[in-house]
Amino acid sequence: MIQKTVQCPNCHKILSCSGSPGDVVELICTGCGTEGKVTFEKLISTENAAIEVTNLTKVYGDLVAVNNISFTVQIGKIFAFLGPNGAGKTTTVEMIESIRQSTSGDIKILSKDIKTSFNEVKEKIGILPQEFRSFEKLTVKETLVYFSKLYKKTADVNSIIDAMDLNDERKKYYKDLSGGLKQRVGVAISLVNDPDIVFLDEPTTGLDPKARRKVWEVIAGLRNRGKTVFLTTHYMEEAEYLADHIAIIHKGKIIAEGTLDELINKHGEGSILRIKNCSSKDAVDVLKENGFDAHAEGNGDVAIKIEFKERVLDVLSILKHECIDYENIDIRRSNLEEIFLKITGAKLSEAEQ
């Protein structure tokens, strides 16, 4: 548990509270009764850092493509770098991959400074560049063998083919594969050296929903294999589905960062539990008396703001205890699109720069 001291924004009284990293604790001012929340930031240890980026900047003439960003990617986690097209995602990841030169800032991969030790790092990372296309006239297996033989340390190609569910395609030419299969081969290529960190730059762009879902499964499987994944994407559902940690980049700056729950709690409106066709007009009052932020929606429905999933059960037990009947319940959670909209005033899908 961590002790934290805060000042009431209303009466300026100093208050103290305790919580665990990642918690959001409700606090009522003992001086004026003002309600508020205290967030306990998740601790990020550089000892477990796969990637450490500090004050990274990239300038093209008058354009600041990446503006003094810092973040850490933990070993064994999927880190999603989310933002609209042109936000600076690929510029950032390509600076980390040493494909682009940074204007300023430091990048460490597995504690090694890439400016001086990138050759050592090469054997430990696997990369799927944006819009990557492999050699058209090599089969899937030949493609993987080709790339694997350009490393000193290699993984078993057949086991990668199995893991990526590419057995039926192993003898097909790369050019004859569908877009989704090509991307899966791209992910497979990034694994041929059994890397510790895998960089996937927009791996599902242009794919249909079914193919995208299949690639997601493959990426999720990487975490189970102990890989650290750095994923850039402009699909918020991709980040929501896959990521352990999300950084949202907009106009070259990181505007929000954390786990999905942290982002929703900090920037979103939490989850809304909707009681459909509530039988009692007193339901709102009863819920309010029990500390819930509830309001009637006019059509017999009651909406309750839920910050922790455990509170859903509390609501249901209150309704049962008070003998309040209802047709059904519906829970809707804030998503990254809403968070992006709230922070930037623009929709993620429409904010291409």
Binding site: Y60, E94, E97, S98, I99, R100, Q101, N119, K122, E123, I125, I127, P129, Q130, E131, F132, R133, S134, F135, E136, K137, L138, E142, Y146, F147, K149, L150, Y151, K152, Y173, I189
Partner: protein
């Protein structure tokens, strides 16, 4: 330098090349088709290709030998015109575009000049120089006229050189570069080898620099242990492989179909290797500055097409207008073509060495610049 990486990459390149019928066609079958077509057109028979009307007003031994030497060049068919006939009327009636008139006194003037060279007591009036032969031509038939004028200029130049050098006056058969021992196919085959190496290396290099960049393969390789030097060396070995394959095919067709006599020597191999490096370097330079495949192909065409026609691949440089010959002197393919001819056909060691040295210099410059400009990193 990791040679395992290089050989592995080379193996993959050859494998993908063999699986691409289009590229195999352009590298192997296209030059074969060109050889067969051009060979059939220009090596169809023993007859001379161009008629020239000659009226000998001097009618001496010297003038007759001059006419005979014109006739001995395999490119000319001399039609002798009697002295009493009107030249221009004959040209018009017989539809002959070019006629040469040897003036009366040609022999005497020559003898007088030669004697004056050996005996200083004999005075010779320099104002009589040069001994003009009158050339009539039809301006409406520029193509034949210009070819015949160029051939004549070449023959007369040779004659003048011999006279002023004190050697045999008429020495065309012995000294002419358009000797009767060689057919058009002997001229064309080395040019075809140079042209094929040029196109496969220029386009091959451009493709690898633009397509691989567009497809993210260069970005991928940048993050892998293989170095840029290893990758470029591997690609060069692949270009060399293509060059030797296409050269071999051209030689086989030339020998089997046209019975071309090939002289294999060190200059022949040196030129193939240097030419591959030279045009790969040019391709690398183009590939650095153009971003997409379509523009790259156009840029490649803009470089190779003019060279193909101006560097003496299909048509002897001697029959081109003077200004075009000057242009050819600055084109790398000209030195490749001439080097190849002198190495593998004429077996002229001195000229082989001369042209090979030029090709080596070109190759070194362009390849080094190509390497310096080829970069994997993005800005």
């Amino acid at each position: 330098m990791n040679f395992r990486f290089i050989l592995h990459d080379l193996h993959a390149n050859i494998k993908t090349w063999l699986r691409s019928p289009g590229t195999v066609f352009w590298t192997v079958l296209f030059p074969v088709l060109l050889i067969l077509i051009f060979g059939a057109i220009f090596s169809g028979g023993d007859e001379a290709e161009f008629n020239i009307v000659v009226q000998d007003l001097d009618n001496t031994t010297l003038s007759e030998e001059f006419v005979a030497n014109l006739n001995n060049t395999s490119l000319l068919n001399v039609i002798e015109l009697e002295t009493g006939k009107n030249v221009t009327e004959f040209m018009h009636d017989e539809d002959e575009p070019v006629a040469l008139v040897i003036p009366k006194g040609f022999n005497d003037s020559m003898v007088e000049y030669i004697e004056s060279q050996y005996n200083p007591t004999i005075e010779f009036d320099d104002t009589n120089l040069p001994f003009n032969l009158t050339l009539y031509f039809d301006p409406s038939d520029q193509t034949t006229t210009s070819i015949l004028r160029s051939i004549l200029a070449s023959v007369i130049y040779q004659l003048n050189m011999n006279i002023t050098g004190g050697e045999t006056i008429i020495g065309i058969n012995e000294e002419s570069s358009v000797g009767e021992d060689f057919d058009y196919i002997d001229f064309f085959l080395p040019g075809m080898i140079g042209f094929t190496i040029m196109t496969s290396c220029v386009y091959g290099s451009i493709e690898r620099n633009t397509k691989y960049r567009k497809d993210g393969i260069l970005r991928k390789l940048l993050t892998m242990p293989i170095t840029r030097a290893e990758w470029i060396l591997s690609k060069m070995l692949f270009m060399l492989f293509l060059s030797f394959v296409s050269t071999l095919v051209i030689l086989i067709v030339g020998i089997l179909k046209w019975e071309v006599s090939i002289k294999i020597n060190i200059f022949f191999f040196l030129l193939i290797i240097a030419t591959s490096f030279l045009f790969s370097g040019i391709g690398m330079i183009i590939g650095r500055f153009v971003k997409d495949q379509e523009t790259a192909d156009m840029a490649g065409g803009a470089i190779t097409f003019p060279m193909m026609f101006l560097a003496g691949t299909f048509i002897p440089l001697e029959i081109m207008p003077g200004y075009m010959q000057s242009i050819a002197q600055v084109l790398p393919l000209y030195y490749v073509n001439e080097g190849m001819r002198n190495a593998m056909i004429y077996a002229d060691i001195d000229k082989s060495l001369f042209f090979s040295a030029f090709v080596l210099v070109f190759a070194t410059v362009f390849f080094m610049v190509g390497i310096l400009l080829t970069k994997w990193k993005e800005d």
